[in-house]
């Protein structure tokens, strides 16, 4: 078999042309708001998990998950490029699903949440930004590479 013989490595997409920037125009605003959410969610969940985790383990775990999702989306937006765009798009969908599910959950079974999460009641404590942001993100990221 001639499987050992490999053709020249196809030049990576990134090497052939610069990564398409995602942080331009409306993307700047998007990454700013995501950055704010990262700082808010990460510091909040770190503080709560460190100090009073036993009071509301479910709520604080969900806040930490939200923080990780926000951090990852912010990273992909800043990094740019086609793969990052797709990854960010998937994460925005996850984020939207998360905020809708947790939103319904907090309304349906408030007793499970002695304290609120970032995504409680569709992110009401954060001016509904958690539910608006993924929708805006999907709209911005949906445009394929020009």
């Amino acid at each position: 078999m001639s499987e050992t013989r490999q053709g020249p490595e196809p030049a990576g997409e990134a090497a052939a042309e610069p990564r398409r920037k995602l942080v331009t125009g409306p993307g700047t605003l998007l990454v700013w708001v995501y950055g704010v959410m990262v700082v808010g969610a990460v510091s909040r969940s770190a503080y709560q998990i460190a100090t009073e985790f036993d009071r509301a383990p479910l709520a604080y775990t969900l806040s930490a998950v939200a923080a990780v999702v926000y951090a990852f989306i912010t990273y992909t937006l800043v990094r740019g490029g086609e793969r990052a765009r797709v990854a960010a798009l998937v994460c925005c969908a996850v984020e939207l699903a998360g905020v809708v599910l947790v939103g319904i959950w907090t309304l349906a079974d408030p007793s499970a949440f002695p304290d609120s999460t970032v995504w409680s009641e569709f992110g009401r404590g954060y001016l509904f930004i958690p539910v608006i942001l993924p929708v805006t993100g999907i709209l911005w990221l949906r445009r394929p590479r020009a």
Binding site: V23, T24, G25, P26, G27, T28, L29, V31, W32, V33, G35, V36, V39, S43, Y47, L127
Partner: protein, 119 residues
């Protein structure tokens, strides 16, 4: 804390937001005068950080916890400069929109700071 300073910072942050909103509506990027405005608002937030730390050092303590209070003070001080740097890189109307968002976030942080200190 110093209520007057909190109110002044919140009002100036909202004025900055409105001003940058005007630039956004006119399809303009942030200009020198906007950056002077951002510097003034940032200075107020830094003054607040200093006043807050001094009051903690004097033995007063915020109602909802010192860690929370200090982290909000740091966030408030960093907020507008961070938005300003992003608008430096984005020389379109969207840079102005970003500073608008920064001003609004700072105003919200002021309300939270007021609550955390214990009104």
């Amino acid at each position: 804390m110093l209520d007057a300073l909190t109110i002044a910072t919140a009002v100036c942050a909202l004025l900055l937001a409105a001003w940058c909103g005007l630039a956004f509506a006119r399809h303009e990027p942030t200009k020198d005068w906007h950056f002077i405005g951002m510097a003034v608002v940032s200075l107020l937030a830094v003054a607040q950080l200093v006043v807050g730390v001094v009051q903690l050092a004097r033995g007063q303590s915020p109602e909802q916890g010192t860690v929370l209070f200090v982290s909000y003070l740091l966030g408030a001080a960093a907020c507008v400069p961070a938005a300003g740097f992003m608008s430096l890189a984005e020389r379109t109307r969207w840079g102005s929109m970003t500073v608008l968002a920064g001003g609004v976030v700072l105003a919200v942080l002021q309300v939270r700071l007021y609550d955390i200190w214990g009104g």
